[in-house]
């Protein structure tokens, strides 16, 4: 099982759209995928029309394994489940450490319901907190969307140096360009410059697309309503790159 985090220390860069669409791309390849909505402002659940249950709002409901399992909801798509938002740091800590440990009760319990996941995708909140630091430690790869603008690039550089200072593995970071408008010279130039300094940047990038913007209206992954030739398909190609880098095998 691999844990892929979607993270950005800057908001509004298409992080949740990335998490949702990558999770869908993973699921349609036949990988049993769990998307965890860790961002209280995030909308993964919203995009999948999953309402957090009343019980989920109460604090400390994840104290036991059963609580966690009961919180998982099937999406409308095969192989794709969702753990809705509202995890406290404490909950998350329990969750992540137990997910990693093959002998943990959580793993065993999931196996029992025939739902041992191949891939867990984390939609993380856009800040550097205890929770995100835990993600940095635990995730196998951290996908970071960057809009090719000065400000966005700056925040990525900050993240990179934070990793360096705190001795997190920088090779975990998989940045890629998001919301790219090729007609803008700034975008083109920024991409060219950044590609020189960061070899780990993914080859594929997400163009700015009204189809992706309309996800909020459709409340579904973009590939389910947009044509296969459209920008939507890029998520599949990005997922392919991630699979290769994270060595997600069969």
């Amino acid at each position: 099982m691999k844990i892929i985090a979607c993270y950005s220390n800057k908001g509004g860069v298409g992080k949740t759209a990335t998490a949702v669409n990558l999770a869908y791309a993973s699921a349609i390849k036949g990988r049993r995928t769990l998307l965890c909505d860790l961002d209280p402002q995030g909308a993964s659940g919203f995009y999948f029309r999953v309402k957090p249950s009343k019980k989920l709002v109460k604090t400390a409901f994840f104290r036991d394994v059963q609580g966690l399992i009961h919180a998982i909801r099937a999406s409308d798509f095969d192989n794709l489940d969702l753990l809705p938002a509202n995890l406290t740091y404490r909950d998350f800590d329990i969750f992540l450490s137990r997910m990693k440990n093959g002998r943990s009760r959580l793993k065993k319990a999931l196996r029992k319901v025939d739902n041992d996941y191949d891939v867990i995708i984390l939609d993380c909140p856009p800040n550097i907190s205890l929770l995100s630091e835990n993600v940095f430690k635990t995730a196998d790869k951290i996908v970071v969307p960057i809009i090719p603008t000065t400000l966005s690039v700056r925040t990525f550089e900050q993240l990179n140096s934070f990793f360096k200072t705190n001795e997190y593995q920088r090779k975990k970071l998989l940045p890629f360009f998001s919301m790219v408008q090729k007609s803008k010279k700034l975008h083109k130039d920024t991409m060219a410059t950044l590609r020189k300094s960061y070899k780990s940047l993914l080859r594929n990038y997400i163009p700015f697309s009204t189809e992706i913007e309309r996800m909020g209206l459709h409340r579904a992954p973009v590939l389910t309503y947009a044509g296969k030739d459209s920008a939507a398909n890029i998520y599949g190609q990005i997922w392919q790159e991630i699979e290769e880098k994270a060595k997600i095998g069969w």
Partner: protein
């Protein structure tokens, strides 16, 4: 959570189900009824699909396999004249049918129309909370709906709500194709080559013998139609096994019928079977075709190909011949005569032991055969002649048949465990014999028909040579297993069961010292 697999004896009415859903939850049931298709419902003669609760439809070139337990429908294209899973391209249906039956043909059971619909129970956000598969089938004037809910993780309540709503509109739990057939008025007689013949332990053994023979004669006769039509090779196989069992009763139940009558009957049945010997030999060859090709070097394949084409031609001739015999007045009269003879029994004079009680007779017979098997097997070593192994095989087969015939007189678990214990040894001996028969058959081809292969004699002879060598090697391998397999059968557990079941007072004999 288990899916709710249901049957509704009428149309699934979306509005009715919707009304039965709790209003407070604002559910919306979306249901498409699917495209109506006209086709055939297929199954094997021994109803393997029905027994595994699957339904196979063919509509034009589309093959659809529905699994009642899960509500899954698998589809793939197929030519309209396919009969065996191996005739189909690899696909989701063929892979499942291969698990159901490799040897049996899939034959039409009934003409039907059917449609597969899909449903979703949505919440007020448009999120699917339960999925539903619904299959509507009609046959002549009758129709039935069957379906299956699909639980989505975390939505237990919605699943329960839909289940209740379905039940309130007439759905009942059902995972049994038999019930579906009943509702549709489809009559499919259940066939088994191994019937359980209920026997009375106190009844005269002559009566039990007649009952067993009648039952196997019935089985043989049920296979005649399929044998003549040549649907698949199992019809002939079952036909022959049934007749062989009849012959076994006649020869093993010594003294039950008068000796003259027994001799005559044995001849009658042997003559019936003998007419099908060549066809069965050819069937076995053709069924093993790919195995034979794998056995021999590639440079002998050309000759083997010619040989198999010859076998195919011969089989066609033999099949026609057997069909002609089975359709003949002479055969019909003979088999009717035999059937009647065992049905009323008045023309069957009793032998000296005919009036003995079935149970005691059975115990004595099984015990004697068991002792005989042990005696022969224990004397076998590496140096023993093949003929001794053949004798052991025959005795084992007799023992197996006796255990099967008399199984209803003894506790099921114990007699079954004896049959299972014997099985491995029997399979081993069976293979040993098959390899030997096949070599003999090839020798006959070599001796008698090689000149028919005009100009290609050498190629054919080479392939026969190669195949015979390999078959001999395989036979030798089986031969080496016999002692090991017998040792496994010759266990204290088996002795205990035999002693317990069959060692009735007074039946002990000197062979017991072997135990």
């Amino acid at each position: 959570m288990d899916p709710f697999t249901y049957l509704i004896p009428s149309l699934l009415n979306q509005e009715k189900v919707q009304k039965k859903l709790p209003a407070i939850r604002h559910y919306q049931l979306a249901l498409d009824s699917g495209e109506k298709q006209k086709g055939l419902l297929l199954d094997t003669f021994d109803a393997k699909l029905r027994q595994s609760n699957q339904l196979l439809f063919q509509a034009g070139t589309m093959l659809s396999l529905y699994e009642l337990k899960t509500g899954q429908m698998f589809e793939q294209t197929a030519s309209e004249d396919w009969a065996f899973p191996a005739d189909l391209e690899p696909g989701p249906v063929s892979s499942r049918l291969l698990q159901v039956s490799r040897l049996r043909a899939f034959l039409p059971v009934a003409g039907v129309t059917f449609s597969l619909g899909h449903g979703s129970l949505l919440d007020d956000e448009g999120k699917t909370r339960v999925r539903l598969v619904h299959l509507f089938i009609s046959c002549r004037q009758r129709s039935v709906g069957i379906g299956c809910t699909q639980y989505l993780r975390g939505y237990d309540q919605a699943h329960e709500d839909l289940r209740l709503a379905l039940e309130e509109t007439g759905a009942v739990f059902c995972r049994d194709v038999g019930v579906v057939f009943d509702v549709l008025g489809i009559k499919q007689e259940i066939y088994t080559a191994k019937p359980k013949v209920a026997l009375n332990p106190d009844a005269p053994v002559k009566q039990s013998a007649r009952k067993i023979i009648r039952s196997f004669l019935r089985i043989a006769r049920r296979n005649e139609k399929g044998l003549v039509a040549d649907y698949d090779t199992e019809f002939l196989h079952d036909y022959r096994v049934s007749l062989r069992k009849v012959r076994s009763v006649l020869s093993l139940f010594k003294g039950v019928f008068s000796p003259e009558q027994t001799d005559q009957l044995k001849k009658n049945f042997a003559s019936l079977m003998q007419k099908t010997n060549a066809l069965r030999d050819l069937d076995v060859y053709l069924l093993n075709r790919s195995q034979y090709f794998d056995l021999v070097p590639a440079d002998t394949h050309e000759g083997l190909e010619i040989l198999f084409r010859y076998f195919e031609g011969e089989r066609q001739k033999e099949q026609k011949q057997v069909s002609r015999v089975l359709k003949s007045k002479e055969y019909q009269n003979e088999i009717d005569r035999l059937k009647k003879m065992f049905a009323d029994g008045s023309s069957l004079p009793s032998g000296p032991r005919g009036e003995e009680k079935s149970f005691e007779f059975a115990c004595g017979l099984v015990k004697k055969r068991y002792d005989k098997v042990c005696k022969i097997a224990r004397a076998i070593d590496d140096q023993s002649e093949d003929s001794v192994v053949h004798r052991l095989r025959i005795q084992c087969k007799k023992l197996r048949y006796l255990l099967e015939f008399f199984a209803p007189l003894f506790p099921e678990d114990e007699s079954k465990s004896l049959i299972i214990a014997l099985k491995q040894l029997q399979d081993n001996l069976g293979n040993f014999n098959d390899y030997s028969v096949q070599q003999r058959f090839l020798r006959q081809v070599l001796n008698n028909t090689i000149p028919d292969f005009n100009g290609r004699e050498i190629k054919v002879a080479e392939s026969i040579g190669a195949l015979t060598t390999m078959l001999h090697r395989l036979q030798w391998k089986e031969r080496r297993q016999v002692m090991k397999n017998f040792a496994r059968f010759d266990s204290p557990e088996v002795h205990t069961i035999v002693t317990k079941l069959f060692n009735i007072e007074g039946s002990e004999n000197e062979n017991n010292c072997l135990l």
